[in-house]
């Protein structure tokens, strides 16, 4: 007998299903260890050695390791979600999903959650290797606050990612190009391998618009500089506002782009 599904069920069930696909698929072939852990470590090690060579304070090792660990989430939630959605469209999986009464944000959430699970393994490996290979030190007592900032960052990125994913539906390959065009400036502004305090004031404000830059700065301040809620509450407010704003904007963008895709036929025309 047919049951009516709650709105939450229409988001969470497909999210669970898609996360299952990503986790199962992502771990079926062990080559991921090479791509996801060993290769990124080469980049992180090279930056750390460059800082050591220049005589930078040892705290910079922690900056690089946290940046390396968090950047993969950025890729997964934001870029990864859009790229995977484009792949889903090209393979025809998106069409089959849209046939169902499940909601598209559920699919995107599932991609993000599955990706986060796989990325967490990489990030934990990066941090462990950082601690043991490069003797990076972290303030473990600030871990709860750092995790709060971290998760708020991810949720706001998810909202932003939803909107950007819609570009892939309507613009296809062009959506990929738009992502690529945004890639380097955002990498630069978010301070993957350096503190954003190194920027001129104007660039610091610009970086404040990017949740990753705010989140990364907050996590670093908590885990490396030992700062607490009394200074980091601004980060939390910015991220909370960004979460709500990006979610609303993302949903609106996604819905209107999907509707446009349905009107133009781009949901089913795979070459576009």
């Amino acid at each position: 007998m047919r049951r009516s599904r709650s709105a939450l069920n229409k988001v969470l069930r497909p999210a669970l299903g898609r996360a299952f696909v990503r986790i199962k698929g992502g771990n079926r072939e062990p080559s991921w260890i090479l791509w996801e852990i060993l290769l990124p470590m080469i980049m992180i090690a090279s930056v750390i050695w460059a800082y050591e060579h220049l005589g930078a304070p040892s705290i910079f090792k922690g900056f690089v390791i946290l940046g390396g660990a968090m950047m993969s989430y950025w890729y997964n939630v934001l870029w990864g979600m859009g790229r995977t959605l484009y792949w889903e469209k090209e393979t025809g999986n998106l069409e089959l999903f849209l046939l169902s009464d499940s909601r598209l944000p559920g699919l995107l959430l599932g991609m993000a959650l599955g990706g986060m699970f796989n990325t967490s393994i990489r990030s934990i490996a990066v941090i462990i290797m950082g601690v043991y290979l490069f003797n990076a030190e972290f303030n473990v007592s600030a871990l709860p606050l750092a995790l709060l900032i971290f998760f708020l960052t991810l949720i706001s990125l998810y909202g932003l990612g939803m909107g950007l994913s819609g570009l892939h539906i309507v613009y296809g390959r062009m959506g990929v190009r738009i992502n690529e065009a945004l890639d380097e400036p955002i990498m630069f502004l978010s301070g993957q391998y350096y503190p954003i305090s190194a920027f001129p004031t104007l660039l610091q404000y610009a970086a404040g618009l990017i949740p990753l830059a705010v989140g990364l700065d907050g996590v670093r301040r908590a885990l490396l500089l030992g700062e607490g809620l009394e200074t980091l509450y601004i980060h939390l407010i910015i991220l909370a506002v960004a979460t709500v704003a990006f979610y609303l904007i993302g949903m609106k963008m996604l819905n209107s782009l999907v509707e446009r895709g349905r009107r133009d036929g781009r949901l089913i025309l795979r070459w576009m």
Binding site: R5, L16, F20, V21, L96, L98, G265
Partner: protein, 326 residues
């Protein structure tokens, strides 16, 4: 009685830099509950466009369509609760996962719990015979297995209305027969209330469907039960002429003959022979044979034939349903 599917003056125009293309031109169909309804037409006739609109994947340019009494644009989410779609030659899915894991995923997409999905997969295994490949990776199974998997995916939510878009496309005779058997059982056993099936295989539509609409260039050109359609051509004069010929283009002159209402050619590449099926306006086959021989075409056999459903299309459009546009 409420119709399972109804379209009213449905139009769909695709725009591209090359211009506009009308894929559906005022299509109106009514599909009652509880039948297999066939939509028959050559490639590019508009069958898939119509199914995509009914499945809420594409918006119509104008006109209305209802599925299960719900409007496909205004009540798209309600439509999605009661439908599913299976396309022939379908290759979507996650190749790195097994067939079972893919079905587990689709169970979640349709809101089933893990245990409900497991039970459903067992049930579908009984119906479709999936056990040989349930635990094989999707990218390692054959085309026939893939189509059974696609059908299982299409049934995972127990849809009231199932759209089957060329369900046996690319399958060998045995696999196509097996799929057709399942399709029949689905309606006979009441698992699916209504099926809308598109095909360009005349025999398939004739075997499965209770009612047929013939579509060409976005327009419905004939409709009726198979026997009603056959009645349209029962008085026609139909001949099969076997010839030795490799270059089919040499038969283009037949289009210019007034006495030939329509013709289609099926070639047998290996033997170098071809069969022309012709609907004639008079019994004068002799004139046509002479014209063929004048063109240097060697005629092997000539036989008068009984009309088939395929000839309805031949009569209405002047070419066979499987003929490629030239």
């Amino acid at each position: 009685m409420e119709q399972a599917i109804e379209t009213i003056n449905l139009v769909r125009v695709f725009s591209s830099p090359q211009g506009e293309f009308k894929a559906l031109d005022n299509v109106s169909i009514s599909v009652p509950n509880g039948i297999i309804y066939g939509l028959l037409g050559p490639n590019g006739a508009g069958k898939t466009t119509l199914i995509r609109i009914l499945a809420t994947l594409l918006l119509p340019t104008s006109g209305d369509a209802y599925v299960g009494g719900f409007h496909v644009v205004r009540e798209a989410n309600k439509v999605r609760e009661i439908i599913n779609l299976v396309s022939g030659g379908e290759r979507p899915g996650y190749g790195i996962l097994t067939v079972r894991e893919n079905l587990m995923y689709y169970g979640q997409v349709y809101g089933l719990t893990w245990s409900e999905t497991k039970r459903k997969i067992e049930e579908l295994d009984q119906l479709l015979g999936l056990s040989d490949f349930l635990d094989k990776r999707l990218n390692r199974i054959s085309t026939g297995m893939m189509q059974k998997y696609a059908l299982a995916r299409g049934l995972i939510n127990d849809p009231d209305i199932l759209f089957l878009d060329e369900p046996t496309l690319g399958l060998d005779v045995n696999n196509a027969r097996a799929i057709r058997r399942v399709i029949k059982r689905l309606v006979e056993e009441g698992r699916i209330k209504t099926i809308l099936l598109t095909s360009h295989y005349m025999a398939e539509v004739e075997e499965l469907c209770d009612y047929i609409s013939i579509i060409d260039q976005g327009r419905i050109i004939a409709r009726g039960a198979p026997e009603e359609l056959r009645r349209m051509i029962e008085k026609e004069i139909i001949y099969d002429v076997d010839i030795r010929l490799r270059d089919v283009d040499r038969l283009n002159f037949l289009k210019r003959l007034d006495s030939v209402i329509g013709h289609t050619v099926k070639t047998r590449q290996l033997s170098g022979e071809a069969r022309i099926r012709m609907i004639l306006s008079s019994e004068d086959i002799g004139t046509i044979i002479r014209r063929l021989e004048d063109e240097g075409i060697h005629v092997l056999r000539v036989s008068r034939s009984e009309p088939s459903l395929e000839d309805v299309f031949l009569k209405l459009v002047g070419k066979g349903i499987s003929d490629e546009e030239k």
